[in-house]
């Protein structure tokens, strides 16, 4: 069979097809890299940051928040920081967020990745409503839980007495001393990391985790009967109806069936 020369149109179509092929391969590799790059759940974001998933879409990586922070708390992730490149974050053990009253880092954000309205109460900025993360205590390494007196984190907390309280209990080992154990309250803690920064242990016994990582969820199956408001969680609850062959019939019919033979005898 004689081979005909490829027509220009055919060449064009083949070239296009090859281009699309390369593009698809490139796109897959690129996506795989991105999937890996954005899957780092332990990042602490500036105050008023929106949900991580939306944050990654929205932050334009301009660093205006970083420049606005007077304490050099915030940093933009560099290649090698193991965080999505260019996005702002902070490491409380190094420099915590000092919870500036005027929150200079938030209004400068041009993209809405830091949402001013989420830290505004009655028309005023209120850093106490910020939600950067949640302090978690490792009771095994916190020396207060050993019975050694320490209230470094409690004293360091900017919302002293609300985000961290001290719980007293008897030290049965000595019989004459008290435990003064720090307790974190999730509703008040902003995740600023002042406690982590102040913690006296070698590796901090109190540390900040992003809320989604630090918190569990009881679901709507359990209700605190003694708390009137808690019932409101029931609005998420929904009944589950399962129909099987057996449940289609009434229970009485089910019990009676099979007895026919017995009665005959």
């Amino acid at each position: 069979m004689k081979k005909e020369a490829l027509s220009d149109r055919r060449k064009f179509i083949l070239n296009m097809a090859r281009g699309v092929g390369y593009a698809a391969i490139g796109g897959f590799l690129w996506s795989a890299y991105l999937d890996d790059a954005k899957a780092s759940p332990l990042i602490l974001r500036p105050p008023a940051a929106i949900k991580e998933e939306d944050f990654l879409k929205t932050c334009i990586k301009c660093g205006l928040c970083v420049e606005a922070c007077p304490y050099d708390t915030l940093m933009l992730a560099k290649p090698g920081d193991h965080r999505p490149i260019g996005t702002p974050y902070f490491i409380p053990r190094d420099i915590p967020c000092y919870m500036c009253e005027d929150i200079p880092c938030v209004p400068v954000c041009p993209s809405g990745a830091l949402d001013e309205s989420s830290v505004t109460v009655n028309g005023h900025l209120d850093i106490n409503t910020a939600d950067m993360g949640l302090a978690v205590i490792d009771e095994n390494s916190c020396i207060a839980f050993w019975g050694i007196q320490c209230d470094a984190c409690y004293r360091a907390c900017p919302i002293l007495g609300q985000a961290i309280t001290v719980e007293y209990s008897k030290n049965e080992r000595t019989g004459k001393h008290a435990f003064l154990k720090p307790v974190v309250h999730a509703d008040a803690c902003t995740g600023c990391g002042m406690c982590e920064h102040a913690c006296v242990t070698e590796k901090p016994a109190i540390f900040i985790l992003p809320r989604e990582v630090a918190m569990g969820k009881a679901g709507s199956h359990y209700i605190k009967g003694w708390d009137k408001k808690d019932e409101s969680r029931l609005k998420d609850a929904h009944a589950i109806h399962t129909t099987t062959n057996v449940s289609k019939r009434k229970a009485v019919d089910k019990l009676n069936s099979g007895l026919e033979g017995l009665l005959d005898e």
Binding site: T58, M75, L76, P84
Partner: protein
């Protein structure tokens, strides 16, 4: 001395703006200057005029982000500027990678690597438009601005302002790629931001014009031009460079000893007559 100025005036001016912009950004971060804050992705001039990278915002839109009005105003400012001035003026007058690729290109000429690699360039200059398209598709699928997460341009620029990390690796790769693998590899073939600005600046006003009657066919312009396909009219026709791929770097103008190339404002009516 005046010859030096004559042959390098635009190059000097370009380096001056490129480095000047970097210093202003650096000063804002390090010393709290209020002239140019932020970085090339998004910034503020004198604390008032917002400026944002239109391509970055395009990716954010593709990713499904709700774009704040501040950003949109910033995009309008930047897009309008480059739409009028010549899109890829960004590349030669602002982008920091340009200094890296220009030096790779310079070394190529010094070491005569160009002539050692006489084989046809292995990939087409259209790759950048493919990457531009793919970046938007990947952004849509992954829900993040895809090129912004890998962009060596932002990495270098952010790095110079905020600290580099391993960003040097990316810059080094581009340098070596352009030096040894592909002439004008990154800026002329791959960079989707350059591709984006090529499209944006297609109809802009500031153009390089060629005067055929002055041209002595020395071809110095084609040697220095990073996008030499745009100079197809050299020695043939008196035409303006109409391709958006011209970076308005003006190297061709200053290397031309015969005054055959110059900047001028695009004249639409005249272009029509010349069969644009």
């Amino acid at each position: 001395m005046s010859k030096l100025w004559n042959n390098y005036r635009y190059l000097i001016l370009r380096r001056f703006t490129q480095i000047g912009i970097l210093i202003l950004f650096f000063g804002a971060n390090a010393w709290g200057w209020k002239i140019l804050e932020g970085n090339l992705s998004s910034s503020e001039l004198f604390g008032i005029v917002p400026m944002s990278d239109p391509y970055a915002v395009l990716q954010m839109v593709a990713a499904g982000a709700v774009v704040a009005s501040d950003l949109l105003i910033g995009v309008a400012v930047v897009a309008l500027f480059y739409f009028l001035i010549g899109g890829r003026a960004f590349c030669s007058w602002v982008c920091p990678i340009n200094m890296v690729t220009d030096s790779a290109n310079y070394l190529r000429r010094v070491f005569d690597i160009d002539r050692a690699q006489i084989t046809k360039q292995p990939i087409t200059r259209n790759v950048r438009y493919w990457i531009l398209g793919i970046s938007l598709i990947v952004s849509a699928f992954m829900g993040i601005a895809a090129f912004e997460f890998v962009s060596p341009i932002s990495m270098m620029h952010r790095g110079l302002v905020f600290g580099m990390g391993f960003g040097w690796a990316a810059i080094g790769m581009i340098f070596l790629f352009d030096l040894f693998v592909l002439k004008n590899g990154w800026c002329g073939h791959i960079c989707p931001l350059g591709g984006f600005y090529s499209l944006l600046g297609k109809f802009s006003f500031i153009r390089v014009h060629h005067l055929e009657e002055n041209c002595t066919l020395c071809m110095k312009c084609k040697v220095v031009c990073p996008e030499k396909q745009v100079l197809h009219m050299i020695g043939k026709e008196s035409l303006p460079v109409l391709s958006g791929e011209c970076t308005n770097c003006a190297r061709c103008i200053e290397v031309c000893d015969d005054d055959a190339l110059r900047f001028s404002i695009r004249d639409f009516i005249q272009n029509k007559k010349m069969g644009e």
